[in-house]
Symmetry: C2
């Protein structure tokens, strides 16, 4: 019998409890051992979650779980940094195993937790921390261990993807799409974590550590959110045959890794470009397996609960078969000392939208600056004619260096014929970059 204590009886906690209670006999038949919820701790134990939980197992004190020697696995679902970290470290100290969905905590302070777990021989399960119900951590650690991962493209924030989907399909502007997302409960009152790409960066930190064996590198991830996007650029992207997604990108080249979160133009015919609404998807290119894609719900009580319970089952199987830490939490016995490439040194294709005054010689001036900075133009769209006024001049480039692009745009934005700050969006795929 595996005894579980759950700290945090919110949305995900309720999903986990529902699965463990309603499927108790099914799970026992499958596993050959029962999983029992010994205790659930939450500050609010009065609210009815619509699940038949005996009142005696509810407590407002996390200590009742942390100090209970009969509990094998502590499930931390309160989120945030503290007291979540404190609870996890105390659980490990007490010889318990830990399951958590806390991506922010793992991304920022995960090394402390993994270190403590290693010292005490504890398990740390965190499948639910990335992409909700999609078993992506297991897929990378155990499904694709024969691969050197070349690249990862992830749509791993459902809120941003929902907003971009509404903007793309209905021509909405960002503030309206955000309001819609908030009205439907897909975005929080303070949407900063989602729309600034911070949540995606937390998840990419975890994914890249698993995929490349590197340390958790949150602070080295380049990050741009979706606040600045306008439906004008989404429309031009479609004209070029691209969709804009908030993409988490990790690419490896020999001893270096690129880690970045930013709005990204993707060819319309890419499978990952079809992933709309609140859904998540992770594209992985491995050197043996080639292109793979994993798709599903990135949030919600039951999808995330599905992932949490898969971790409880995994650890339960290790306990009953006597194989604790059969696989290290990060999937590897040895970390890899790969360098994270500075954003300035990243090569990408670019979309530019210049606010050019409609005067003779503008195109030649702009393209002159681009050429002088080693940026070569792949295609151009010029729309509208309003003599003397600013019109959008839109370009797609071939591969260029980020440093050169920033330098060129700084110069271009100073030109008297340029009326406003140039919009630029990075482009992936196309040009023989095969990505499913």
């Amino acid at each position: 019998m595996i005894k579980v204590g759950i700290i945090g009886f919110g949305t995900v906690g309720a999903g986990v409890v529902r699965i463990l209670i309603e499927k108790a006999s099914e799970l026992e038949a499958k596993l050959g051992f029962p999983i029992v919820i010994k205790r659930i701790a939450d500050l609010d134990i009065k609210r009815d979650r619509g699940i038949a939980v005996s009142a005696d197992i509810l407590t407002t004190r996390a200590e009742d779980i942390l100090d209970d020697p009969s509990i094998d696995i502590v499930v931390e679902l309160i989120g945030g940094m503290n007291p979540a970290k404190d609870f996890i470290l105390r659980a490990i100290e007490k010889g318990k195993h830990v399951v958590t969905a806390n991506k922010a905590l793992l991304a920022l302070e995960g090394e402390d937790i993994f270190y403590a777990a290693e010292k005490k021989g504890a398990e740390v399960g965190f499948e639910a921390s990335v992409a909700g119900g999609i078993p992506i951590i297991k897929a990378i650690k155990e499904g694709l261990p024969a691969n050197r991962i070349n690249s990862i493209y992830g749509i791993i924030n459902g809120t941003s993807n929902y907003i971009l989907t509404r903007m793309t399909n209905e021509g909405m502007e960002f503030p309206d799409a955000l309001m819609e997302a908030q009205r439907l409960g897909y975005a929080e009152a303070d949407p900063t974590l989602d729309i600034e790409g911070i949540d995606s960066a937390h998840k990419l930190t975890i994914l890249s550590a698993i995929a490349f064996g590197i340390p958790l590198s949150y602070n080295e991830i380049y990050r741009e959110g979706i606040k600045g996007l306008s439906s004008l650029d989404i429309g031009f992207a479609l004209e070029f045959g691209y969709k804009i997604k908030l993409l988490a990108i990790a690419k490896r080249s020999n001893s270096e890794v690129e880690l970045r979160i930013h709005p990204t133009m993707l060819p319309l015919n890419y499978l990952i470009a079809q992933v709309d609404g609140v859904y998540n998807a992770i594209y992985i290119d491995g050197d043996s397996v080639g292109s793979t894609l994993f798709y599903g719900r990135g949030a919600g009580d039951m999808p995330t609960g599905s992932a949490v319970v898969s971790d409880i089952i995994d650890i339960g199987r290790n306990i009953t078969s006597g194989s604790i830490r059969r696989i290290p939490p990060m999937g590897t016995s040895k970390r890899m000392p790969l360098k994270i490439r500075a954003m300035d040194d990243v090569y990408s294709r670019y979309y530019f939208r210049f606010s050019a005054l409609d005067k003779p010689g503008v195109l030649s001036k702009i393209s002159g600056v681009l050429g002088a900075n080693n940026i070569s133009i792949a295609s151009v769209i010029q729309k509208g004619r309003k003599q003397g006024e600013a019109v959008p001049l839109v370009m797609m480039t071939h591969d260029a260096l980020e440093r050169d692009v920033r330098h060129a745009l700084k110069e271009i934005d100073k030109l008297p014929v340029v009326a406003d700050k140039t919009v630029y969006i990075r482009v992936e795929g196309g040009e023989g970059n095969a990505t499913g």
Copy 2:
């Protein structure tokens, strides 16, 4: 140290050997123990596979592997029924663990193998038997164990999918597309297994056993191949907003399961309908996780090798951590006695193409027979007018019972106004059937 013997040094065997040799040190760093190829058996040990294999480990006698007490894991990659089954049973008898990619053998005689393995306490890994490099067996067994699986839609035969993709995108007819597939090495000289849906049925047998905990049920799978498809129907499907895929379908409703392989019309906006060429994808709907999709290469030396090596690693980890059969091969300790529903009792939507003579009253006669058989029409397309000649009359139905459909079509095909056998294709999705 884990010692492996590989029987079968063909395409997949070469992929496995390449991974294990070229990544030996990377894998050892990751796992904390080395995986060593002790022996490779093949009838042809002269051919150069382009891999640096020492000649002393090559043998033409499988016995050199089966009788070597130092070998922990036997990898069977010769395919076919015998001697593959014999080798596997002998390996198990000798106390070895087994990894195989042999879907036909597992689908037809897997119960014997799993029974022998249970008796001897041996592991049987078969990730590579379904969908090549996609870690779908692990995803179902270990990623989604908290779910009752409601339905599976699988594109699990790359050859058929390649042929259908060419027919769809270029309007090719089946024989030409098949020839193209053969020319490119995607189809065998005798393509029967692929185009008749037999290979898909082998894989669905394995998938459904894992997903539902039922016995291997190859003989109860309803099966239709793609040979009879014409570009005419693919064209009409597109007009209705559908693509035709050879789909492996498994659906559970309480105590019954539907298992079927047939050409299927899927809404164009479904993610799985976008899966083209030789790629595979498996859509899984679980009661907790909701819609998920797993996509990747279903064949090839390196993708399949990636899956085989993941099994070797899994079993190697069980050996080194002393947790053999930590998870039963079918993922469950207890089989479920679900009934396989007869095809006659299956409900589906249908596409019909009648070869109707262009005479007054034809539509009324045909729809009269349909109505009398409880089949209601959702939409109709009638094309061309050639007085007195046969023209295609195309219909989409609402949900209807297969038995009623067969009965109705038998009657309709006897009508004097119907010039040829009616074409019918089953339709999934749409009508509120949310499938990613």
